[in-house]
């Protein structure tokens, strides 16, 4: 089976935008959501999420703010922007199209 890195490649930002669309979150929480939703197939490290955050912040897709943490350390929260919501909507449509086409090509059954 393909490694989790291969499965996630190209989709990390879209997944993060979807998670942030549902509510502000922080690095570890987002990594945990992806691992939990990945049904044991996907493993993602905080560093991968962080790299994606920096790219998306530079593109204006999200903003950040500091909030309370636990154990004596603060958390950096991320919030999706309007531009981020638009980009997510576009990526979602793109994914639906690609998913439909790939399912047709891989599963077949059109003849």
């Amino acid at each position: 089976m393909a490694g989790s890195g291969d499965i996630l490649r190209g989709h990390t930002e879209t997944i993060i935008l979807r998670i942030l669309q549902e509510g502000d979150s922080y690095g570890y929480e987002i990594a945990k959501d992806i691992i939990d939703g990945g049904e044991g197939v996907i493993d993602v490290k905080d560093a991968t999420i962080y790299t994606a955050f920096r790219r998306m912040e530079e593109e204006g897709l999200l903003t950040t703010y500091w909030g309370d943490g636990v154990g004596g350390a603060r958390r950096r929260y991320y919030k999706i922007t309007e531009k981020g919501k638009q980009v997510y909507a576009a990526k979602l449509e793109e994914w639906k199209l690609v998913s439909r086409i790939l399912t047709k090509l891989i599963v077949g059954g059109n003849r």
């Binding site: 690095g27 905080d46 560093a47 154990g71």
Partner: protein, 268 residues
């Protein structure tokens, strides 16, 4: 060590080669926040601290790329608008000084006076501006009052400035004003004592106090002698300081021997 302290130590090792700056500080804090969030969840499941630490560090992943990006490659520094503005300001100021010098020479025929006043003033102004700029950017970092070398540098700058203030503004004779330079090693010693006493784990009290007493007696002697001109017999101050150190050492070492003897007696 608590988990928080262990994570902080780990992050310090990761950021060893990264120059201090806002972005680096924020990344460190974010990483610490993620580590502690994960750690608290694992601890709530009853997992021991050592395993919590290992699992959290593993889950962090490889931040090498992000940390390397913060090390400020030279080309990136040159492209930074703040750096470019600083260079522009420096060049503009230099051009203004040169223009002023040329005008002084052409209009007032004061070439020599211009050279002796404008260029030293230009150098001093640049030095003061650069120092103030570095201080403003970095003074909020804890290391600026907990690291002896940094404290010593600030002391040397202040005492050098004091010499010029005493000589030029207060009209004190340079033969007396130079004593401010003598206080640079005194300041250095006090900085080492301060950082050792409050910020370092291992403390050697006897050596600290001997060094403090000796440097104080030498400084008092030099100051008093420079002001009064009585080099003899004021040198006796240094001898008194040395004798005081000698007696203090004897008493302290005696106390240490007694304590060791009592411990050996107890162990029997």
């Amino acid at each position: 060590m608590t988990l928080l302290e262990r994570f902080k130590a780990y992050l310090s090792s990761q950021f060893k080669l990264v120059p201090p700056g806002r972005e680096a500080a924020e990344l460190r804090e974010e990483m610490l926040g993620n580590l502690m969030s994960h750690a608290m969840e694992l601890k709530a499941e009853g997992i021991p601290d050592d395993e919590v630490y290992t699992r959290c560090i593993e889950a962090l992943g490889d931040y090498t790329e992000a940390i390397n990006a913060l090390r400020g490659k030279p080309l990136q520094v040159v492209r930074d608008p703040k750096f470019q503005r600083s260079v522009l300001l420096l060049v503009t100021f230099s051009l203004l000084c040169v223009t002023a010098y040329i005008l002084m020479g052409i209009l007032g025929k004061l070439w020599a006076v211009g050279a002796y006043t404008i260029f030293p003033a230009m150098a001093i102004a640049m030095y003061v501006f650069a120092t103030a700029s570095v201080l403003k950017r970095n003074i909020r970092f804890r290391k600026h009052y907990t690291t002896d070398l940094i404290l010593i540098t600030y002391g040397a700058i202040l005492l050098t400035a004091l010499f010029f203030v005493l000589w030029l503004a207060c009209k004190v004779s340079p033969a007396v004003a130079w004593v401010s330079f003598v206080y640079i090693p005194v300041w250095a010693l006090l900085s080492v004592i301060f950082t050792t006493m409050f910020f370092r784990r291992r403390k050697v009290w006897l050596i600290i106090w001997i060094a403090l007493v000796m440097m104080t007696s030498v400084a008092v002697f030099l100051t008093a002698a420079a002001v009064t001109g009585m080099w003899h017999p004021l040198w006796i101050i240094v001898v008194v300081g040395a004798l005081a150190c000698g007696f203090a050492s004897v008493f302290a070492l005696n106390a240490k021997i007694d304590k060791k003897a009592k411990e050996d007696e107890f162990d029997k």
